[in-house]
Symmetry: C2
Amino acid sequence: MNKNITDIYNLIQELAWHFGNHGFNGECCRDLSLAEFMALKKIQEIDNITIQEIGYAINYTKGGASKIVDRIESKGYIKREYSAIDGRMCCVNVTTEGIDIINSIIEEYSTYVDEMLKEFDDDAIENIKSVLEILMTASKKRLNTYNPQ
Amino acid sequence: MNKNITDIYNLIQELAWHFGNHGFNGECCRDLSLAEFMALKKIQEIDNITIQEIGYAINYTKGGASKIVDRIESKGYIKREYSAIDGRMCCVNVTTEGIDIINSIIEEYSTYVDEMLKEFDDDAIENIKSVLEILMTASKKRLNTYNPQ
DNA sequence: ATAAATTAGTTTCCATCGTCAACTATATGA
DNA sequence: TCATATAGTTGACGATGGAAACTAATTTAT
């Protein structure tokens, strides 16, 4: 095994830990947990997303997704409606408060990242971004072959 | 705010989610949780590490660290001893089984990463690694200013 | 048309996990 | 020697997510 590959694995894991649930001094996203925030971003991204789609997007069961939707809804950031076409289906959509908090959280963390990377020039920033895109694309492709449901 | 910075923040978060507790099909590291594995790696890294140092390293309270050490020890991967110099202090060290499982987990995931990045040449791999190193260094530096205890 | 099967979402029970704060035991210092 | 500080442990608690049973709506088969 190429040592660089092993290093990359360890670095990704460290990065994931650092920016995951217990990083950032254990705090995440105002009154939202990291899981809630990930779900909220997905809900904003896809119009009339269903509970199951949310679960699939964040890798939760539908029961878990239903509960996370409960919590975000109780905070006022999303709204459940029932589909006019299929009465079983939930159409979840973001509220104005939801849009506001997403933007404000993203702004807050972008400031953090900006500060973190202030010593790097535009080309370096561009390179960092493209590497992260490569990693995300590659890992998603890899997941699909494993989990093709 | 430079849009690239915001993109970088979102990409890091997605990557963290994907490789964090709920990624990898929700499975991590054989019979270890991600937190346990991160702690185990730290324990291997630092000889005679104390409970508090472990807690600091993975951003847990000392109570939490004590419990995580319980779990890893009960699986046989580490061993608590009490310091000869200061009877209050715990010196935690990895066992042979611990070294074995760390190596085998790292090998398993490195294979995953290798597969994931197989289409990239050595220069690209080198670049990915150096970007990840930059991110880790930058984020650690940033944390220290915030959390200097 | 109607009964059976399927599907989306909810809920209950449960196990895991990490924090807080009280506690034990050891060390230090006045 | 007694008070204080420190390292680690423990019990109570709250948060959380999965499994599976459950409800309600839809579709399929007869």
